[in-house]
Symmetry: C2
């Protein structure tokens, strides 16, 4: 990738995020140096192939043109300011979860202008922490918030956007304040909600917990995140998160009151149904995996003979063709001897699907 | 499976759950008949291979020895009572999410004793509904609550436990009241929490939602469930759910108040950290996938040369051997030239792993 606006990157902080950036940049052929106060972290990151230790190599340090700060939120401002001073020719960015506080802190600590600093926040992570959980593909297809401030230089903003792209992510420009409002909703609120629900399990009987299914596991998975890290993240974004938490708490009390008032055919049933429908509407607004918008699928109609097992045979044939079914609809026209199945599949998979179905005797017309 | 205590099963209600039971029983070689008020549902279930339509076949009906009721909660009691009357020699069970209300309702509708009825609740589902979402493996490795009441016959309880096992699940005996308390915590509370968080997304800006990551998707996945179904489930278990919802709402207000009081080094920071740790403790109490207890893994120590990329090479070799790494620890002894990596893998995979590592030149000693 010789067209990147940087050639030598230093990643400061070889935790989950920093090490993953190192791995992703190495994958893209970029020269990466690593730093971490903890020699064990550094050793693991180097051993994973995320880069070389920067150590005291003054020549390498002088050649660094992009510094990526991946340290805990409470240390961000100081380390950003430090990186601006140490790497005098470099663009400096960070991977922190809260952007307004990091910018303010960096301004407090910096001796000179912050014009080479542009905030960054890749929207990926793991409930595990540390370099051992790092992956080169952690950012593939994910959003990467790029939060320029009024003094940020244009070339610095472009360098951080290029970093996001080189790591497989897509950059999203937001102001620091817009970013913090957004993550309060899409990240910090669900984190606390997950934590509170998981906390309710501490007192539960063993033979009650054995009934736990995938739903509870999904809702509580992120509650396993590092409490120290999350204390720092939530503290740095306290005001927007507190506002949303009060709102959610009010809605939960309201749902409980509705349940207490239930009688058959009372208006409380309608209230309950409406709040459940509101949740469905909300979850449907989420972009698909990898930020893809829904609706890029093609519908392939297949006439279905009215015999037992035909749908099972159709699904088996589609699966054997290696095609993923995203959605299925069946036309229930009454009185017709055969039904019509509409398979929604990725646009690109349509030719292979039609070919495979025709080969297995299904009556498809391209 | 000729040792099953039933030979002919009727599944009443060919939705997601009923059709999945049909598919799982067909997989086990059991003869299955299907009924559904909606002819389209019935046709899809038959076409998937979940069984044959019972229709007006009086001979088949007379031979049914197990009836499985898979209808919405509000209809459960009536349909259970009806099944007891229609299939006079059969054990009757259901797949409903709430057990005390179903038992009471069945008692109201039944002309005679409920001794052939034993409640059941397989702990599996999907945010999708209807027979098209059904799968033969839906219950594999899942808990299946079996809720006998004092009048239940022993042979009926055994038949329902055999049904759970035949569908790939493991039976868990609970009283109806114990069951309802348990699912209020492990299923209904997370459902409402997920719904409320998802509902908060309805008013969010598009370019805020693009920052949504896997965490929010996991927390809100079950919010996509059928509002009508969940209205009925929550209504049938209103009191235990309302109690938990008030408790969770109080904790959320408390978390918000803590965030509002934060100052560096204030005791509020400690409160926040403690509540986050409580969530970690709770989520660690959840049984593993398929109800497996953690700790059945073996640790394989591998000395690691202190050269860049060695850990990456080790992981690649393990992966090529087809072995799944459940956990990794690195011994960080300072001053030693080489580190020691401890790979946790399934007990059964140890011999293959040792052989593969030795073949790739790793210094392992079985």
């Amino acid at each position: 990738m010789s067209d990147l606006p940087f050639r030598r990157v230093v990643v400061i902080g070889a935790g989950l995020m920093g090490t993953s950036v190192g791995l992703a940049l190495r994958r893209a052929g970029v020269e990466v140096f690593l730093e971490d106060l903890d020699p064990a972290n550094l050793r693991v990151a180097v051993s994973l192939g995320a880069g070389k230790p920067l150590g005291t190599d003054a020549e390498a340090a002088a050649a660094v043109d992009l510094a990526v700060v991946g340290v805990p939120p409470a240390a961000l401002g100081r380390v950003i300011a430090d990186a601006l001073a140490r790497f005098a020719a470099a663009t400096v960015t960070d991977l922190g979860s809260v952007k307004a506080a990091a910018l303010t802190d960096a301004g407090t600590h910096a001796a000179a202008s912050l014009d080479r600093y542009v905030g960054g926040h890749p929207m990926a992570g793991s409930e595990h922490s540390g370099p051992l959980a790092a992956r080169a593909d952690l950012f593939d297809g994910r959003a990467w918030a790029v939060t320029a401030h009024p003094q940020s230089r244009t070339d610095a903003v472009e360098a951080v956007e290029a970093l996001a792209l080189a790591c497989g992510a897509f950059p999203v420009r937001l102001t620091p304040a817009q970013h913090d409002e957004a993550v309060a909703l899409v990240s910090h609120l669900p984190q606390v909600a997950s934590t509170v629900v998981a906390g309710m399990l501490t007192g539960a009987a063993e033979d009650h917990l054995v009934l736990a299914g995938q739903g509870l596991r999904d809702v509580t998975r992120i509650a396993g995140g590092d409490p120290e890290l999350w204390t720092q993240i939530l503290s740095a974004n306290a005001e927007p998160v507190a506002r949303l938490l009060h709102e959610v708490a009010d809605k939960m009390h309201q749902a409980a009151l509705t349940l207490e008032k239930l009688e058959p055919a009372s208006s409380a049933v309608e209230d309950l149904r409406r709040s459940l429908e509101c949740g469905v509407t909300g979850v449907r607004r989420l972009p698909g995996k990898h930020g893809a918008r829904p609706g890029v699928f093609a519908a392939v109609p297949v006439p279905l003979p009215d015999q037992p097992g035909e749908l099972a045979r159709l699904f088996a044939d589609v699966s054997a063709a290696g095609v993923n079914i995203e959605d299925v609809r069946i036309d229930h026209s009454p009185g017709t001897p055969a039904g019509l199945v509409e398979l929604s599949v990725d646009q690109d998979a349509v030719p292979a699907l039609l070919e495979a179905l025709a080969r297995h005797g299904w009556d498809v017309h391209g």
